[in-house]
Amino acid sequence: MRDVAVIGVGMHPWGKFPDSSITQMCRQAVEAALEDAGAEWPDVQAVSAGSSRFSGGKGWGLNGNDVVEDMGPTGVPVYNLSAGCAAGGNAFDIGHMLVSSGMYNMVLVVGGEKMPKGMIQLSGVDEETDPEYLRQIAVGMPGPAFWALLCRRRMAEHGTTEEQLADIAVKAHQISVHNQNARFRKEFTQEDVLNSALVSDPLHLYEICPVSDGAAAAILCSAEEARKRTTDPIWVAASAVATAQFDDGIPRGLASPAPADGHAYHSEALLAVESCYEKAGVSPKDVDLVELQDNTVYYELAFPEEWGLCEPGEAESLLERGETLPTGKLPINPSGGFLCFGEATTAMGMFQVCELTWQLRGQAGARQVPDAKIGLGQTLGLGSNASAVILKR
């Protein structure tokens, strides 16, 4: 397999943009990525795109085709990848493969999404054979409840306090004031967070990510192509996707196997991350920064422990000592994360590739992780999909 470089990244700011179409938002991200790469649209030999559930794509998730039609039809091959909130990461994995395999020398990966207002219904299937549909009519479980159940369990197991949960949101917003692409760029106090509305107890409004519109893109190319265009490219050390294992204890549908030890962890995320460690020859202690999918503050505690980045039960003390800030020992979400950007579901994996690239280049300004060399990104989506990526300079 050939080495693959990220030579250009671009992002449309995240937030609510009622006057912009998903096509316009993707175009802004793609044009920025092309410019960053010093490339022209006709140089792109293949497109790998996240399939949106909520916008564009002709109702078939053909979002890559929308981008090609808008940028100008060149006959370029398009791969549309559907993986829930992991679609952007999934598209990146395929884009990476298209270049590493030697099939193409330059590939565009893009994810864009415009989200409907309010809480979203996860599944699009209204049939009793669909476990998500059945779960909604027989029990009634709003999305945040899933995270709340995991979080409450952690509080019982590790003594995590409501104040510590709030401090994760405080930390995120402390960083996001320095990110011009963030939707929320306002500092919160612990009190502000705890006084925000309880959504699914113990989680407050400011402790879960809202839905946003957003788009992000990257240009991947072969080492040979990269050397023509830049002296210091960012390299894809590894990319992986995975799905869940049978008995990881995560509540999916109405019931799932209950591990005898009472544990629950996202096996799909762990498998993708571990696969990246192995492919990249990187151990958790080598990782300089992490962009993880913080749909809720809970994941910022659970994931680093599950992935061996810190010891089980250590996440709270790392947080309290400021070690998860960009200047700390284990910087987590130096972008501000999805707590501050909101989730534009199928763009999320590409959002992380952009942030990791800026950090590794040293272009992250006031949120820069000092001397960042190796960065890990991860997404998680419906259908037990997960993606992970390790970039290095």
């Binding site: 309010g118 809480m119 979203i120 219904q121 209204d126 009793e128 549909y133 059945l134 779960r135 909604q136 009519i137 027989a138 029990v139 009634g140 479980m141 709003p142 409840a145 709340a148 159940l149 995991l150 409450r152 369990r153 019982a156 197991e157 509305a197 309880l198 959504v199 699914s200 107890d201 113990p202 989680l203 294992q245 049978f246 008995d247 204890g249 509540p251 109405l254 019931a255 799932s256 196997p257 209950a258 009472g262 629950a264």
Partner: protein, 141 residues
Amino acid sequence: MTTTKRVPVTEGLFEETAGGARLLGSRCATCNSTYFPKSPVCHNPKCNGSAVEDASFGPLGKLWSYSVQHYAPPPPAKFDEPYEPYTLGLVDLPEGLRVLGRMSTDNPNSLEVGMNVELVIERIHGDDDGNDVVSWMFRPA
């Protein structure tokens, strides 16, 4: 005089017996993996068999976690207007299942992770004909 009927939210998921409420599911004849709702086959990748038989589960379990829902869930979930917060529970059954259900409790503050709970069949909302739509729930045992 009218009588309020109890209408199950969907058929074939639960039953009320003399010994308490039961969830209706399946058990693999080969590896004993359990499923709720019923599954036509065993999904355990380590299992060589696939034949399953009907099985029922409950009423006792341990509360794995819980959460009070302060906002109304989006459709297709239904509830009585105006929306009143309800509590969700995740319960480990001794038959090897981690089951989601509503909690039957007036006082969510009294719930504790790890406590014993039992399965009950209770009203989750009304329907247009004035009937009680019932589903499975868990209450502290």
